[in-house]
């Protein structure tokens, strides 16, 4: 648990996440944080529990709050369970690119949302990366908003993703992640959206005809820390911050390498047809108008902070 003293009198930090050991979030993210922290020799060790071993996403947020888990990697839309406006980070076309997301979290634009999140939840945001952009797969190509008409698209059940569906002009339908492959295969739903690494990990290409590169949202991963962070001394906090920063710097390249390899494989095998002429301008103009109209209060403020931080 939180800051258990290990034999040598140091602090043992628990780092949990939901990705498999093959995914970049583990190999280029969690592992790097562990190596950097331990190499700094600041009396801290890190134990990694991958693959939701310590509970599913929603469950682990509460564990981070209670100090049962010290460090975790979570999507912004999942963190919205503790502080709703932080979900806006996952809004469709809020970020123009991976670099935009990095710049937002690097600069002062993200200070308010991080501080408000900390006030509401007691949890610190140490950094964030994008694990690639979310793309559509479906039984039809999706090039412009009108192509979504009449398609039963599966979106994840959390509110931000459902807002995204509405903003994009899709008819969201609910299917549990566990039943998604079969539902797509048998045609219960026509399509879904996920980042390429997830599409690859769940073999969705086997049961879908078209991958439309809409890049309609950055798949954010926030590295969060529970109460133990506030108990560390200034040096240890710095070591942890630096370790996270190193992972944040290195991760996008890992993701890009994997995405490129996967896209090349699909292109050569023809398992799924890649549609790369999506009218991103039309989609992003539509979602921007929708979010500007429909978001309010702190959520709108987060959205505007993101937009104004575009590099």
């Amino acid at each position: 648990g939180g800051g258990d003293s290990s034999g040598s009198g140091g602090v043992e930090l628990t780092l949990a996440h939901s990705y498999t050991e093959d995914q970049p979030q583990h190999a280029c993210g969690a592992e790097v944080i562990k190596e950097e922290v331990e190499a700094a020799d600041a009396g801290m060790t890190v134990e990694i529990y991958p693959s939701s071993q310590l509970g599913a996403d929603a469950d682990r947020i509460a564990s981070v709050q209670s100090g049962d888990i010290d460090l975790d990697i979570q999507g912004a839309s999942a963190l919205a369970a503790a502080y709703e406006p932080i979900g806006v980070i996952d809004a469709a076309y809020a970020f123009e690119s991976t670099e935009h997301l990095a710049a937002f979290f690097d600069g002062e634009a993200s200070d308010t949302v991080k501080a408000d999140f900390k006030d509401a939840s007691g949890v610190s945001v140490l950094g964030a990366w994008s694990a690639g952009a979310r793309q559509f797969t479906a039984s039809e190509p999706i090039r412009e908003p009108a192509d979504l008409d009449g398609l039963r698209m599966r979106f994840p059940g959390s509110p931000q993703f459902l807002l995204n569906a509405e903003a994009l002009g899709a008819q969201p339908t609910e299917v549990a992640y566990e039943e998604l492959y079969l539902a797509l295969q048998q045609g219960v739903v026509d399509g879904q959206e996920n980042p390429i690494t997830n599409i690859s990990a769940t073999n969705i290409a086997e049961v879908q005809d078209y991958l439309s590169l809409s890049s309609h949202a950055q798949n954010s991963n926030l590295i969060i820390a529970g109460p133990v962070y506030d108990e560390l001394d200034a040096d240890q906090q710095q070591v942890l911050d630096d370790a996270v920063a190193t992972a944040v710097d290195g991760l996008p390249a890992c993701v890009e390498e994997e995405e490129t390899a996967q896209l090349e494989e699909w292109a050569s095998s023809g398992e799924i047809e890649i549609v790369d002429d999506v009218d991103v301008e039309a989609f992003s103009a539509q979602t921007d108008a929708w979010f500007t109209d429909n978001l309010e209060g702190e959520s709108l403020a987060v959205y505007e902070a993101i937009k104004s931080s575009a590099p």
């Binding site: 929603a58 564990s63 549990a176 566990e178 295969q185 219960v188």
Partner: protein, 424 residues
């Protein structure tokens, strides 16, 4: 060390008749408190494991089985099977297997099947000169077809844990379930030679037609469930609800169900579901503790140190399931062991669907063996015979069930053939 103490404590509690769920919940909570974790964590873990969409199929398939039972489907199947088998020597033995096979398409658990059918079939056999021992053996063993044939509650639980498609697992289980039925018929064939007092009933096409028409509509339930999944109309969980709705309407049409009995139907569903789900959630808590203590990694290294051969691995799995299935409830074994065995299986290129069907079939045999064999206790209590007597009766009938396990290990095609044909 901590883990060893924990497991010994659990074993002692189990032997002291503490319910399986509480034998896991108590030590699990104690572990979290003693290792300085928050007490709320235990509750979050059990809640989280229960709040899973695929597991919603558990109450829904239980509901389907209760409805099918109350709607009198078992009696209809019995009449039809009897009409077909009337002139065959030992016909009631085959009837029992046949009824279980038919009912297995509407029931997801062996215990429901055994409880529903034993009271119809065993007295009928007793009246017609069969020994009680024969009746207990055939009814108990053929009840094991229900949890293997889709819809299957163990399959729903395995699919959720292993992240494989419930539809593929359902399709994969059909051939092994049919083989179980065929193997049981062989045992019936052998045993009825030694039953001198058997009385045979008559046979008439008119009776076959009359009783056959009475089972046509009930057959619609599995058609709707499996057809709905394969045809792309529903997800497996939704299909469970649609199947239960169909059975409810059928019961109303047959006038064997009415609105007044609905509350008791839901109460019965609650009691069965809660007993299963409490074990699922408690095993999830214990699984968390084991993960926290790095047991999966240790066991994985151990197994991979012994063998890197998929067949040897499957043999080890089957043996482990036969042993664990006799001492712990099958659901608990699945929740605890699947997260540990899955990664090893993947390393050895074992098809997770084959692994699942093998685990389920070999675990189900444990329902017929003391001390935890739930089917034994059901038959013992409904038929008022000692548990030991039921166990002795079922021994010859476990042979074909073990043979099916061996077949799955050495000819995995029996599992993969149908899902491949269906493109799953």
């Amino acid at each position: 060390m901590t883990v060893a103490l924990l497991l010994i404590g659990i074993l002692v509690l189990l032997l002291l008749r503490v319910p399986v769920a509480f034998s896991f919940l108590g030590p699990g909570l104690a572990y979290l408190v003693l290792t300085d974790q928050s007490v709320g964590l235990a509750m979050r873990l059990v809640t989280n494991s229960t709040a899973s969409f695929p597991l919603l199929a558990v109450p829904l398939f239980v509901l389907l089985g209760v409805l099918a039972n109350r709607a009198g489907i078992a009696d209809r199947l019995f009449d039809f099977a009897l009409a077909l088998m009337g002139r065959v020597r030992g016909g009631l033995g085959y009837v029992s297997v046949g009824v279980s096979l038919g009912f297995s398409w509407m029931s997801g658990s062996a215990v429901a099947d055994a409880a529903a059918l034993s009271k119809v079939e065993i007295p009928a056999m007793q009246r017609n000169g069969y020994t009680t021992r024969f009746g207990l053996g055939v009814v108990g063993s053929s009840a094991l077809i229900a949890p293997v044939m889709p819809p299957s509650i163990p399959a729903v639980i395995y699919a959720g844990l292993a992240a494989v498609s419930t539809g593929a697992l359902f399709a994969a289980s059909v051939v092994p379930a049919l083989l179980m039925a065929a193997g049981l018929c062989v045992v019936v064939f052998v045993l009825v030679r030694r039953q001198p007092d058997i009385v045979q009933t008559g046979f008439s096409w008119a009776e076959v037609r009359r009783t056959g028409l009475r089972v046509l509509a009930p057959v619609g339930a599995p058609v709707l469930i499996l057809g709905g999944i394969l045809g792309g109309w529903f997800t497996p969980t939704e299909a469970a609800a649609v199947g239960a709705l169909y059975m409810l309407l059928l019961g109303f049409a047959y006038r064997s169900l009415d609105l007044r009995v609905l509350p008791s139907i839901f109460v019965e569903t609650v009691l069965t579901t809660a007993a299963i789900m409490l074990i699922v959630s408690s095993a999830a808590l214990l699984g968390f503790v084991l993960a926290r203590e790095r047991v999966p990694q240790l066991l994985s290294e151990l197994v991979l140190g012994i063998t890197d051969d998929a067949t040897v691995f499957l043999i080890l799995v089957a043996l482990l399931m036969l042993v664990l299935g006799t001492v712990i409830d099958a659901t608990a074994v699945l929740v605890l062991i699947v997260p540990i065995l899955m990664p090893i299986g993947l390393r050895l290129d074992v098809d997770p669907v084959v692994l699942g069907v093998l685990m389920i079939v070999s675990l189900m045999i444990g329902l017929l063996t003391p001390p935890v064999g739930t089917v034994l206790y059901v038959l013992s209590s409904t038929m008022k015979v000692p548990v030991g007597e039921v166990f002795k009766a079922s021994v010859p009938f476990t042979i074909p069930l073990l043979a099916v396990c061996v077949l799955i290990i050495f000819v995995p095609g029996v599992v993969t053939w149908l899902p491949t044909r269906l493109g799953l």
